[in-house]
Symmetry: D2
Subunit: 124 residues, 4 copies
Amino acid sequence: MNIYKLDITVRGYELDSYGHVNNAVYLQYLEQARWELMRELKLLDYFTKNGIMVVVTESNIRYMREASLFDELVIESSYEKISPYLVFHHKIRNRQTKLANIRATIKTVLLDKQKKPLELPDFL
Amino acid sequence: MNIYKLDITVRGYELDSYGHVNNAVYLQYLEQARWELMRELKLLDYFTKNGIMVVVTESNIRYMREASLFDELVIESSYEKISPYLVFHHKIRNRQTKLANIRATIKTVLLDKQKKPLELPDFL
Amino acid sequence: MNIYKLDITVRGYELDSYGHVNNAVYLQYLEQARWELMRELKLLDYFTKNGIMVVVTESNIRYMREASLFDELVIESSYEKISPYLVFHHKIRNRQTKLANIRATIKTVLLDKQKKPLELPDFL
Amino acid sequence: MNIYKLDITVRGYELDSYGHVNNAVYLQYLEQARWELMRELKLLDYFTKNGIMVVVTESNIRYMREASLFDELVIESSYEKISPYLVFHHKIRNRQTKLANIRATIKTVLLDKQKKPLELPDFL
């Protein structure tokens, strides 16, 4: 199982009034990790050309440590085919301390233009 | 168990490039539902005065139906004390069709100024 | 010149680490005011059906007073045709105090599917 | 006048339903450019220690070209002291094509803990 990595540095506007990264922002980070993963697998062109959407059907996140301005984070992502679901496993950790900020499992499904679920393509 | 309700109308900038409400936006909606619930319970002043933060430690969301621009949504929220956790149950449904968009369970913990977990206050 | 009004209550996740509404969030509020205005004028269907996009080409905002959690704001909007631009004038004020939070001028242009500027339709 | 540079790659969740970077997102990019600039000038610690806030009082943006998923952008920033204002000039351009996406002028003021405007420090 390949691990795909994405580096992200916490931005000022991602902090909430508690001065730490807001819980919803992590879902945005994870979404970007999946976009990058799909780009790396050359899936993005294929999906765009065929009007295929990758839609989240379930998200489970455990928040372990808060993140602050300018923290350098690494998002480690992998995926698993549990037909018809494409399930992503993510961990976000601090690049310096190696300590985990969150762990997440995001279940997605591929939808065609009529928003019908698709079988997962073989090349995945 | 009281059900607290919050009405929300989907805004244009909450849509992503798929033209529906982005998965991370629902977490923002749920957060606002909790702020409103805390305001209704007069907890907000108490928390602010005592420097108490309500921090999310786990979020589990099932996405069932997409939402589109100007959809009128109702967020139904309740909470449960599972010491030391304050666990919120949320359902978002369409006000017209009554159909559910998402169901969620959000586990939170109260932290004091030193970011130590607090016992749940009795009056909750 | 008609004034279109939209009520908005400040949400918790719209605050930044300074504890007030972040400067970028006001642009989101203003965008929503324009979506509502276009809906009221029955423009939205027309634009969607014809693949017309309303694209911002210039934004000028003066920030006068900060806004805080649960502040009830009114966005007052009007528009002016300065061909080929559709120029919006917005003011956001506090519903209770009547004091202005921001004033803004947003210049937009209508683009067709090929992203060419369109003349403003007569019925605007 | 020094030019400070920040690289940013467009993320998927920053696109709106038109499939391009939303107008409000640019203000977020610019805010981050200022945070980075303040960090580079060692201002951040000084401001945090003294409870000084950098608050936007005016923003003027000209949007010239849209940006799309994975576009690699460079934000070029400089500042000017026009007492009591600290005025930032920003340009965002595409790293490959060198073409400008936006130009912006952001006027800010430093506020102390009582939210009174401060004179600009000499070392700026």
